[in-house]
């Protein structure tokens, strides 16, 4: 007898539907699986057979063929165990033929028949719901995650026994045994209280940082206009502290953004089972020994890398010049295109990677430049140190702020600085102005503005043009940097609720463009 069960799989960030076709017929008893399968999928046959026996169903001596269609895409992972088991049961006649119709089944099986957690549930359910699928049979551990999609009727199961119970029951009984989970209605109230794994942002606040006003100012400008930021300062001055607090001044994730980010975490297997959706902005802080694959995404079928896990959040790289050159260069594409393309034999995979990049570094290897009394570095050592960050990367970083060593009396005086709440209010106000300005365009932030639209959004008056000409002449500013300065000035003008870009906005933008000019050469 022939049976077909619907399941789903992930390819890159995209999800596609997989039909599990099972044919049971007479002949030499065997269990064969086809459909371009990876090792762990092939092993599913063994798991299914033992799990069925341990659930009390012995398999008759039949010739069973399983095909996972479409057969030209390589299948990986253990999520096909449960649909195969269900397909086999239908083909054997243990379950009614239509029992698994119009339903997406996914899950890994243990030898005892337990249904275990799988990765990537969220994007699979999301895509299937868009295709019109309504009912989902998923591992109980993943049920919350799947239930985040409002259109989905999700049933979480924890053993093969429960699956049998569910599939043999009729519609009314089913409702009774396993009431469908609904999205957590209280979610919107708890926004920003749910941290991304490893990121407890509710406990930290910018008010804890004493002084460092210029770095804080740069943080506001950076988050308001989505400009990438480089923090420069001696060791132990709070560069990491500042970077860690930047998510606290970013506006909370919108529900769509939350779904997007959660999908990526789901694929990476990093989504906590409760609560299912991430609401806090991701903050990633990889060590500088990070590899290219870990950053961009690696594997035969690539898993999302750190740049994608930082999507809609902050990617913070401390000690940037200590990173391998090739690792830094990898950041070029995501910073420019807000996504990362990874080519493999299987095809080209695109992951979103729209993050705010925060880099931190010392001004020189010993950290004390330009204090000649303390700095032991020669000009050449400093140059070599700085030149580890290549021009193309520097060009893409709009803002550069210094983090100063604080004198003891300053630290003790303890005049509290701006708090995260105040800063976020200003950021949100500036973002609102941008949202109004860019309504109906492809842009969402000032940093996105392309060259052809510069005239429209960043036009200067006569006085300002004359001043910028002077800047170009005197401050050794490149043409590309010039446009970046204009965009930052636009954000500063937005922060000060000014319609036009004025001289003072330009001057401040020039100040934060330290990564140009002779300091770097």
């Amino acid at each position: 007898m022939f049976a077909t069960v619907t399941s789903g799989a992930i390819l890159g960030i995209q999800s596609y539907q997989v039909q599990v076709e099972v044919n049971a017929s007479g002949g030499l008893p065997c269990f064969s699986m086809v459909g371009y399968l990876a090792g762990e999928v092939r092993e599913a046959g063994e798991r299914v057979r033992v799990a069925l026996r341990n659930t009390g169903i012995s398999m008759p001596p039949l010739h069973i063929t399983v095909n996972l269609s479409p057969a030209h895409i390589r299948k990986e992972g253990t999520a096909f165990d449960l649909p195969i088991a269900v397909g086999v049961l239908i083909a054997m006649g243990e379950l009614p033929e239509k029992s698994a119709g119009d339903m997406l089944i996914i899950g890994e099986l243990g030898l005892d028949g337990a249904v275990k957690r799988v990765n990537g549930i969220l994007p699979i359910v999301l895509a299937a719901a868009k295709r019109g699928c309504r009912r989902f049979l998923v591992p109980a551990v993943n049920a919350r995650e799947a239930a985040a999609i409002p259109q989905a009727d999700v049933c979480g199961v924890s053993s093969l026994q429960e699956v049998l119970l569910y599939l043999t029951a009729d519609e009314t009984e089913r409702q009774h045994i396993f009431p469908y989970l609904k999205p957590d209605s209280s979610r919107s109230d708890k926004i920003n209280e749910v941290p991304v794994p490893g990121n407890r942002q509710e406990e930290i606040d910018f008010a804890e940082i004493i002084g460092q006003e210029s770095a804080k100012r740069a943080a506001i400008i950076a988050t308001a206009g989505f400009h990438h930021l480089l923090l420069i300062g001696p060791p132990g001055t709070g560069k990491t502290m500042i970077a860690k607090r930047i998510p606290t001044i970013l506006p909370p994730l919108t529900p769509e953004e939350s779904l997007e980010v959660s999908s990526i975490y789901s694929i990476a297997g990093q989504l906590p089972s409760v609560p299912a959706l991430l609401t806090g902005r991701p903050f990633l802080n990889p060590h500088y020994t990070v590899t290219e694959q870990a950053l961009a995404g690696g594997g035969k079928l690539p898993m999302p890398g750190l740049v994608s896990l930082a999507h809609r959040g902050v990617l913070f790289m401390d000690e940037l010049p200590e990173c391998r050159q090739s690792v830094i260069e990898i950041l070029r594409q995501p910073i420019e295109d807000k996504k990362v393309n990874i080519a493999r034999v299987q095809g080209s995979f695109t992951y979103p990677a729209d993050f705010l990049f925060i880099g931190a570094m010392n001004p020189c290897p010993c950290g004390y430049f330009p204090d000649q009394e303390k700095c032991g570095c020669s000009r050449r050592t400093i140059h070599r140190y700085l030149s580890r960050i290549s021009g193309p990367i520097l060009d893409r970083i709009d803002l550069c702020a210094e983090v100063m060593r604080m004198e003891a009396e300053c630290l003790q005086a303890g005049r509290p600085g701006l708090s995260s709440r105040e800063m976020r209010q200003r950021v949100e106000a500036a973002r609102q102005i941008q949202a109004d300005r860019f309504r109906g365009t492809a842009y969402s932030f000032n940093s996105d503005i392309r060259l052809k639209d510069m005239q429209q959004y960043c036009s200067l008056g006569k006085k300002e043009t004359a001043m910028m000409r002077k800047v170009l002449e005197k401050m050794d500013v490149s043409a590309r940097a010039y446009h970046r300065i204009l965009k930052v000035a636009r954000t500063i003008a937005d922060l000060e609720e000014s319609q036009d870009i004025k001289e003072e906005h330009l001057l401040e933008a020039v100040y934060y463009r330290m990564n140009d000019g002779k300091y770097w050469r």
């Binding site: 330009p370 009394e373 020669s378 210094e402 100063m404 604080m406 005197k474 300091y519």
Partner: protein, 422 residues
């Protein structure tokens, strides 16, 4: 004992030579430009010159280039055998009496490999002039120092003996103050037609020499490596310009790579070529102070630019002043002390006055003027300016600093560090 006897012979011989050659120098000084023509040509027109030296040059070049031959060995050979040509043609058996086994191996090996005329031709093609001690153009000032080099190699030209020559030296890692002072001094000396000798090192040396070149003056760099090696590499452009405007000098064979132990000996040439040594900025224990010691040994005048007591980089200068070195308060005054120019008007001669540029502050706003007042030659951080002007909010302070940069008052040094523009 034998060796010492040889040395005394040498010194008596060289002294008599010095007299002959110095009279040459006087005559030569009259038509200095001619010196720059090919030496052979020039020599043909000068009857006083010992022609034999020009035949000797290729052989001397070979002799001085033998690996593993120290100056002592060469001195012994020269004293006993007279000319390098004789040494070159000496049969191996005769050399056995003079050289030990290792030296003999080096000697014969080098003689086999070396193409006498070809190598000298190559040297000439590279534009390197070779002046052994006996050469009439060998700088007279160097003959007077206690330990004159056996030969010097020159790219460009030799210092003009008719002009005054001063060394400007200092630390490699200098402060903003030091670099400003070196620049000012270099410019002023160039304008007074004074030749500046230095080491083309990073920091003060290079900055001073660059200023001389930019002001159109003459400057000479004494290197601690071969003259065809541009070290430090970042001064490559300066090297080229010094070669055009003055000369690159070294006592080391061309192609010698820079080594730490080669630098202190070259310092004696920097002071040896000059009549006075100016120390711009130096720590109390530093290579610059080695040069100062050598200058004192050679009986040269030493001058220092004073600095603040708290500033370690000026420690050496202040110590020198305490010990009685000349104090430089203005370049003009120093030039007057050399007897070149009339005594300057004290008001105009204030070296720092021009830098303060009070006339330019009129264009500035009151706040800008206030911040301008806190600018220093040592870079200061934004937080320093914020502490000095607490009434100015930070975002305005950043704007003021950039505005001051645009007015040529300030300059960015590091991230968030600003100093007065020189």
């Amino acid at each position: 004992m034998n060796q010492y006897a040889n040395e005394s012979i040498i010194s008596s011989k060289t002294e008599s030579e010095v007299n002959v050659i110095e009279s040459n120098q006087v005559e030569k000084a009259k038509n200095n430009d001619q010196t720059q023509n090919d030496t052979d040509e020039y020599a043909a027109g000068n009857n006083l010159v010992n022609y034999a030296i020009y035949d000797e040059l290729p052989y001397l070049y070979w002799l001085y280039s033998i690996d593993g031959f120290g100056r002592k060995t060469i001195l012994v050979l020269e004293t006993l055998l007279g000319s390098a040509k004789t040494i070159y043609h000496l049969p191996e058996n005769d050399l056995k009496w003079l050289l030990n086994e290792r030296q003999l191996r080096d000697f014969t090996g080098s003689r086999k490999r070396w193409d006498i005329s070809g190598e000298y031709q190559k040297l000439k093609e590279k534009g390197i002039r070779f002046y052994p001690y006996a050469h009439p153009d060998y700088p007279a000032t160097l003959r007077k120092i206690p330990d004159p080099p056996a030969a010097i190699y020159v790219r460009g030209r030799l210092p003009d003996p008719a002009r005054r020559t001063v060394a400007v030296i200092g630390t490699r890692k200098c402060s903003g103050y030091g670099s400003t002072m070196a620049g000012q001094l270099g410019k002023a000396l160039a304008q007074a037609q004074i030749q500046v000798v230095s080491g083309m090192a990073r920091g003060i040396d290079g900055i001073g020499q660059r200023a001389v070149v930019e002001a159109g003056g003459r400057t000479f760099a004494v290197l601690g490596c071969g003259v065809d090696v541009s070290y430090p590499p970042e001064n490559r452009r300066l090297y080229d310009r010094i070669m055009e405007r003055g000369g690159i000098l070294s006592e080391y064979t061309p192609g010698t790579m820079p080594k730490a132990q080669l630098f202190p000996p070259r310092n004696r040439l920097i002071s040896g070529l000059s009549e006075a040594v100016i120390v711009v900025e130096a720590r109390e224990k530093s290579g610059t102070m080695i040069t100062v010691d050598m200058a004192l040994e050679q009986g040269k005048d030493v001058y220092a630019i004073p600095g603040r007591l708290v500033d370690g980089l000026s420690g050496g200068c202040n110590r020198l002043i305490k010990q009685g070195a000349g104090v430089i308060l203005s370049a003009e005054e120093f030039i007057w002390e050399l007897g070149i120019q009339p005594h300057p008007d004290p008001a105009a001669a204030d070296m720092a006055a021009e830098l303060r540029k009070p006339e330019n502050t009129e264009k500035l706003s009151p706040e800008e003027r206030k911040v301008d007042g806190f600018l220093d030659y040592n870079p200061q951080s934004l937080s320093y300016f914020a502490a000095c002007c607490p009434e100015i909010p930070l975002c305005r302070l950043t704007r003021i600093l950039i505005s001051l940069c645009l007015h040529d008052r300030a300059e960015q040094i590091g991230a968030g560090f600003y100093c007065r523009k020189s």
